[in-house]
């Protein structure tokens, strides 16, 4: 039987924060630390295999803490995690309580050469790595024209299978660069699950500044295990006054991209079994912005998938208008034109967020969201999805405390009439 985290463990951070608040800790050395607590209470009803209309009241606590170590320049500590307890009828989640530490690390940055050492649970975004790691990361410039990063430790993503014995993740990126002219990086990453290779990849990335502000970006990833190219992604960014045009091309080979590790996810291993099937995407975006007030974009994407012979063309546009404060209204409209009707749909979205209105108190906001999808071929007898959301909130205590409530309504192939509610209380210490 799976071990459940105790409910007190999930709620403890929130209780500790409340105590800190009562003690007025936020008045002391405010620049040295920052703690942010987001407490979310959701409400909805679901049918389970055993019962109908089960009330689900999940209470989430997201806690983030950042602190600089007094007297040591460049040394800091960072922590972020979440916990959840279902206060409703129960039996909806596999476990009524759950909690995860997303990161918790010590970070040291030197004053020169962008030198950085990070120790603990952390996320590594570098070259071909987008990984959660329990370990160490070192990165630094090597003079004005080269840089490197290296990391190693235990992969967090693989700890669900037979624990952590035999798990390892390591890799790095070495790059050469010159001003804004180019940045050429070579990356390597290897992970093992239970002493068997889970992923071994090499990558080359290039950012090239061309004439007239034109930029080329490219990334190619080699699956070392299967000796095949997993991915090629290339794009150009062409600025023409307030407009940026971005043509791009991507291609993926199923076996090399999804990998064939026996401990991989069954769904993706099944896709990898399609061997040399290729997915190619040719597309383009056009973005226009006018001094930050108007943001508009057009996008077109042609998908060619020879693993199932399904091709599609997506085209759409989005527009947002922003005003005083955070005031913003926007809309998006697009159509996925698949070869077959079951791969085609129309997507429309409109939203607003207003925090500067004549009768709106300072710090208050009201927001709304409407998403509509129309399917060319009905899904479970329904040919559309409708989602609507309305939210409002306000701030107190010099903007340190924010209270938000929102309600959602859904009518779609999976839910006839679904109503959900959420209350969010956010507190920021040490601003």
């Amino acid at each position: 039987m799976k071990k459940r985290p105790a409910r007190w463990l999930v709620l403890a951070p929130g209780v500790m924060l409340s105590l800190l608040m009562c003690l007025g800790v936020n008045t002391a050395s405010a620049q040295q630390y920052q703690v942010e607590s987001d407490t979310l209470m959701r409400f909805f009803q679901r049918d389970t295999l055993a019962e109908t209309d089960v009330s689900v009241w999940p209470l989430y606590e997201y806690l983030r803490a950042d602190a600089n170590v007094d007297g040591v320049q460049g040394l800091s500590f960072h922590l972020y995690g979440w916990g959840r307890a279902d206060l409703g009828d129960g039996n909806y989640y596999e476990d009524d309580t759950d909690a995860k530490l997303l990161y918790g690390y010590v970070d040291y940055r030197a004053e020169q050469a962008n030198f950085l050492v990070r120790l603990g649970r952390q996320y590594v975004f570098s070259g071909i790595a987008n990984e959660s790691l329990d370990g160490v990361l070192v990165q630094s410039d090597l003079g004005p024209m080269a840089s490197f990063s290296a990391y190693g430790g235990l992969p967090v993503a693989l700890d669900t299978q037979n624990g952590r014995s035999g798990d390892v993740l390591y890799g790095g990126r070495f790059s050469l660069h010159r001003g804004t002219l180019y940045d050429l990086g070579l990356s390597y990453k290897k992970s093992e699950n239970d002493s068997e290779t889970y992923q071994e990849r090499m990558g080359v990335d290039l950012a090239l500044g061309l004439w007239s502000g034109i930029q080329f970006n490219g990334l190619s990833v080699l699956n070392v295990d299967s000796s095949g190219w997993a991915e090629h992604s290339y794009e150009l960014r062409i600025p023409v006054r307030s407009v940026t045009i971005r043509p791009y091309y991507q291609s993926f080979v199923y076996e090399d991209y999804f990998g064939t590790s026996p401990s991989g996810v069954a769904l993706f291993n099944a896709l990898a079994a399609r061997g040399n099937a290729t997915l190619s995407i040719l597309g383009g975006d056009v973005n226009w912005y006018n001094g930050g007030r108007i943001n508009a974009g057009l996008k077109v994407k042609s998908i060619s998938n020879d693993s199932n012979g399904e091709d599609a063309l997506y085209y759409g546009g989005l527009l947002s208008l922003s005003g005083e404060g955070m005031n913003e209204v926007g809309a998006e409209l697009g159509y996925m034109d698949g070869d077959s009707s079951d791969n085609s749909y129309l997507l429309a979205r409109a939203y607003f967020y207003l925090n500067r209105m004549p009768r709106l108190a300072a710090g208050a906001f009201v927001s709304g969201d409407l998403v509509y999808a129309l399917y060319d071929e009905a899904i479970y007898g329904e040919d559309y999805s409708l989602f609507a959301s309305l939210g409002l909130g306000t701030k107190f205590l010099h903007d340190s405390l924010q209270v938000k409530i929102s309600g959602d309504y859904s009518q779609d192939p999976y839910f006839d009439n679904d109503l959900r509610g959420m209350l969010v209380v956010s507190y920021l210490f040490g601003r």
Partner: protein, 166 residues
Amino acid sequence: MSRFPLHMETMMEKKNLLLLLACMALLSLIAACAALDSGTTLPTAHPEDLGKGNPTCTQCHEARVGTMNYQRFNHTANFLATHRMEAYQNEQLCAMCHQTSFCNDCHATRVELKPSIKNQSETYRSMPHRGDYLSRHRIDGRLDPTSCFRCHGSPKSATTCVPCHG
């Protein structure tokens, strides 16, 4: 009792010693190079508070100055879908404005709430999977499963997929 003859053990010892010396030489070289002033040290935070919303870097900065290509980081209407290369090559620049927790709304090994629910009222943020994505993912997944794999590809991050897909 050793599994190898004596001359082979001696060779392996020499090889290990050479490997150790090579590693030390490489580390020394890296340390020496790292001690050089690269002239591109980034501040840990943006010098001025940018507030919320989508910043357009080139409103204040020139498109390309020194080693910085500010134009690449303009948060245009499609930036959410196109920021991967910027993050992979310049994560430290992202970190000047964004805590990792901000990135973790979408890029996390195990989160339970989809980003658009956790930040339901922040409608100005272009969150993936807004609205009824459960229905749409059948189509998007058939046409381009690589976009699913990028975030749900590991045993832990696929927890949301497994109940239906196995």
